[in-house]
């Protein structure tokens, strides 16, 4: 069997992803629509939270993906630094806007959820706060990519930032926990119980989570393709200028 690194060649990547994309788009759309429709239309209200429990079907998958997108960027950055496959650096770049959107969705839906549950849109709860910090890390990461002209230097520097940022994000998480014990924990535990008790919520939630994961993969592929093309475009234009 060929090494999986062959997909790190842009040509191979473009070919393979072009084959995968159509089927993946359909699958994603179906999963996501079924999951969300099931969650929104065909689940009962929670005895305690009323209809707000429906927010869970977007909040939880979005929160999940927000963190996992950063993890994926970290892995891709490491691959770039160690093996210097351009595709992985570009995939990290492609994932950042998706991650930041997921972070924003988690923040907004959480805030909207917070108003009926905790009586406030925002509390300096450790989990919420660390999400805010994560949002800042995404912002800085994207701003650094945008600011540097030389693509390889940009890939290197953002990878370094991603690694250092990951360490500091973890550190912030502990610091924030130390600084304030929050509300979110309790809420999630009570719902955890319900998840086990009540399959009514669990299956649509699972479907939504799978849908969000698929959406993430789909968008990463699509955006990486765009990044590869952008990169080629830039190189060609630089050449044109020279000759």
């Amino acid at each position: 069997m060929a090494s999986i690194w062959q997909y790190a060649n842009p040509v191979k990547f473009m070919q393979t992803s072009a084959k995968v994309l159509p089927a993946l788009s359909v699958l994603t759309a179906v999963t996501l629509i079924v999951g969300l429709v099931w969650g929104f239309f065909f689940t009962p209200d929670d005895y305690k939270q009323g209809s707000t429990v429906k927010i869970m079907f977007i909040h939880v998958p979005a929160a999940l993906m927000a963190i996992n997108a950063w993890l994926m960027m970290l892995v891709a950055s490491l691959i770039w630094l160690v093996r210097r496959h351009h595709v992985s650096a570009l995939a990290a770049r492609a994932a950042a806007p998706i991650g930041i959107t997921m972070t924003l969705i988690a923040l907004f839906t959480g805030a909207i959820w917070g108003q009926p549950m905790w009586g406030t849109y925002w509390a300096w709860d450790p989990r919420l706060t660390s999400f805010l910090v994560l949002f800042l890390f995404y912002l800085g990461y994207m701003a650094l990519w945008a600011a540097i002209e030389n693509p390889d230097a940009a890939a290197d520097l953002t990878s370094v930032l991603c690694m250092v940022g990951s360490v500091f994000a973890l550190l912030s998480r502990y610091a924030v926990n130390f600084w304030n014990q929050g509300l979110h924990q309790g809420a999630s535990v009570s719902l955890d119980k319900e998840e086990h008790v009540n399959d009514v919520f669990f299956y649509p939630l699972l479907l939504c989570m799978i849908g969000f994961v698929l959406l993430f993969v789909l968008l990463v592929l699509l955006r990486t393709r765009t990044e590869i093309r952008t990169r080629r475009l830039k190189t060609l234009m630089a050449r044109e200028r020279m000759t």
Binding site: L136, G140, A153, F168
Partner: protein, 218 residues
């Protein structure tokens, strides 16, 4: 390496206000906050530790772009990168010089500005100590941010954006130390955490910063 440190300090003094400007900014922020928040001493004394820490952090931030920008522009950084001292050492010395010209004066000035914000007397010692322990981390993290953005046209605002989230743990532990002291609680945990952050930062970030500079010089 000591040569580099002394050179940077001499340059800061000769530039007129290497020490003064960061301090002045700290002073101004501390003065602006009461204008914004209002003069009630009860509120001020509660928020004093936080405001002083945030002020120190912003003052640090504003002087970061001096760390490498001038050396990059006049070509010294190229020459230092080919000199027989390791680039990690250069970075560490730069951070040290930044701390001596910014963190140290801020720390020493904090009690005076604490008075302006009605910081309770119990807080003075820990305010001073926490800044003394924490500001080296601010300088080191800032040096890393400056290394990432060296050579960019208007790196200032971008650097702030990169550096500020990295400052979060230091800020939390630093301000928490003082707040605990004010509440009569034990300050050991946050102070130790703060020291840990500083030590780890100073041990590891010079390598990341040196790597960033090498990439930027290409």
């Amino acid at each position: 390496m000591i040569a580099l440190l002394t050179r940077d300090l001499i340059l800061a003094i000769r530039a007129g206000g290497g020490f003064g400007l960061g301090l002045a900014f700290f002073l101004i922020v501390t003065i602006l906050v009461p204008f914004g928040v209002g003069p009630e001493s009860a509120i001020l004394s509660v928020i004093a530790p936080g405001i002083l820490w945030v002020g120190a952090l912003l003052a640090c931030l504003l002087s970061l772009d001096r760390i490498f920008a001038l050396d990059f522009e006049d070509g010294s950084l190229d020459l230092l990168a080919t000199a027989p001292i390791p680039l990690e050492g250069v970075v560490a010395m730069k951070a040290a010089a930044h701390w001596v010209t910014t963190g140290l004066p801020l720390t020493l000035a904090a009690p005076v500005l604490g008075t302006l914000l009605h910081l309770p007397v119990e807080g003075y010692l820990w305010m001073l100590l926490s800044l003394a322990i924490g500001t080296p981390a601010l300088s080191m993290i800032g040096t890393f941010g400056a290394a990432l953005t060296v050579g960019l046209k208007r790196g200032g605002l971008l650097m702030s954006l990169l550096v500020l989230p990295l400052y979060v743990p230091t800020l939390i532990f630093g301000a928490e130390t003082v707040k605990r002291a004010l509440d009569g609680l034990t300050t050991a945990t946050p102070a130790l955490m703060l020291a840990g952050v500083t030590l780890a930062t100073c041990a590891l970030l010079p390598f990341a910063a040196a790597a960033a500079i090498r990439i930027n010089l290409r």
